[in-house]
């Protein structure tokens, strides 16, 4: 989640740390040092990040080819690199990316250049309705309410209240056939290393928040999981757990995370 340190290359930034751990080059020495500290405390983190990032193209395919959405609004998008949603959606789909980080937005616009039907705006994912009502977004959605929303890999930067408000607001805003794709990050933050990681992120200006699956389900209400349910990343990709027995202490539910398509309850 971008913070006030975004444009300051002398302070580590969580977004750039994330990029480095994913093998990108949109980062600086200060970020790489912070990332190595994070990696030391949580050696499994790069694998975990890859697992949820690998889902993006699946989301694009599922939402557009299978479920027929022609508009995707993605929040806290990060860099729209070649693997991102727009490269795998059905032709004619409008993809609207957003991020709070102005550098990310500028960078994203350059990557996208004039890619048809793909847009990138600066916005705070915690205020989805303000964003959706902005004239530039409305000009694209044309008051369309059947939209697929995506919050992927952002839950740890959001408080309970924020997640619940996002869920409520989007539920009220969208029509009955809308979907919200969400990645849920569990974690046992009470371990010694867990405290250390939270402190590291706090120094970067970000508070981390983790929850159990039942807690997430409660926060998403009135949205519910569709028939695919809450799928672990291991199930999603058909791989064995990347966690060692030692790592398992961090993940009391035995998985690195879940992905879900939330729909409106009957």
């Amino acid at each position: 989640m971008p913070t006030k340190t975004i444009v300051d290359a002398s302070i580590p930034n969580a977004g750039r740390v994330y990029d480095y751990l994913l093998g990108g080059h949109h980062n600086f020495e200060i970020d790489r040092r912070a990332a190595e500290q994070v990696r030391l405390a949580t050696p499994f983190l790069p694998k975990l990040m890859r697992l949820f990032r690998w889902c993006l193209q699946d989301l694009a395919y599922e939402l557009t080819y299978v479920r027929g959405y022609d508009a995707i609004v993605d929040f806290a998008s990060g860099l729209p690199t070649a693997d991102h949603l727009h490269s795998a959606v059905a032709p004619g789909t409008t993809v609207i990316y957003s991020d709070r980080d102005p550098v990310c937005v500028e960078y994203g616009l350059e990557i996208l250049e004039n890619t048809p039907n793909v847009h990138y705006f600066q916005a705070d994912c915690r205020q989805p309705i303000d964003y959706l009502n902005r004239p530039e977004v409305q000009a694209l959605l044309k008051d369309k309410r059947r939209v697929a929303y995506i919050y992927w890999g952002i839950s740890m930067y959001l408080t309970d209240e924020e997640i619940h408000k996002i869920a409520q607001d989007l539920h009220d805003y969208s029509d009955d056939s809308s979907t919200m794709a969400f990645y849920l990050q569990p974690y046992n933050q009470n371990t010694e290393n867990g405290v250390q990681v939270r402190e590291l992120y706090k120094k970067m200006g970000d508070e981390l928040h983790f929850r159990t699956l039942p807690q997430f389900k409660e926060l998403f209400k009135p949205w519910v999981a569709d028939d695919l349910g809450y799928r672990t990343m291991e199930e999603w990709h058909g791989v064995e757990s990347p966690l060692t027995a030692e790592d398992m202490v961090w993940f009391p539910d035995g998985t690195v995370g879940w992905g879900v398509y939330l729909v409106k309850g009957k």
Partner: protein
């Protein structure tokens, strides 16, 4: 290179059984390093990549066109195949072919051809990887300049 290739054609013999064995070794090597891959190479693509690699190898042993392999290496870098994956893949290929053909007479020309293949693959990969790094650096720089100018 061509002379070497002509000589090798007579000695190389990768039956479909050999190809299946080789594909298995590539798959295993790539699975071990799948977490080095970036986003366009999720786990489910690994099998397809390994099979494609075998098809390219067989074609190369037949025709010896290193430019195609060089371009293939570039594509793999752009798609996000990890550095560890490509090194493991080249190593598995080299060892795999050697195990298959080392009992045959005159296997050295074939191994030279295998070297040509892995060199072309790795060279292409590294060229594209470096290009991508430079492009990302430039974009980062320009994005920062524009952001600070705009703010």
């Amino acid at each position: 290179m061509l002379a070497q290739h002509d000589q090798a054609v007579e000695t190389v013999s990768l039956s479909s059984e050999d190809q299946a064995v080789l594909a298995g070794k590539l798959l295993q090597a790539m699975r071990e390093h799948m977490y080095s891959n970036r986003m366009q190479v999720p786990p489910r693509r690994i099998k397809e990549l390994a099979e494609n690699e075998i098809a390219l190898i067989v074609d190369f042993l037949d025709k010896g066109e290193s430019q195609i392999i060089n371009e293939h290496g570039m594509t793999l870098a752009r798609e996000g195949l990890g550095q560890k994956s490509i090194v493991a893949m080249a190593s598995a290929f080299r060892l795999g072919v050697w195990k298959i053909i080392n009992q045959q007479p005159d296997f050295l020309p074939t191994m030279n051809l295998v070297e040509d293949y892995t060199n072309a693959l790795l060279n292409g990969y590294m060229t594209a990887y470096e290009e991508e790094q430079r492009r990302e650096q430039q974009r980062t720089h320009e994005a920062f300049v524009r952001t600070t100018t705009n703010s």
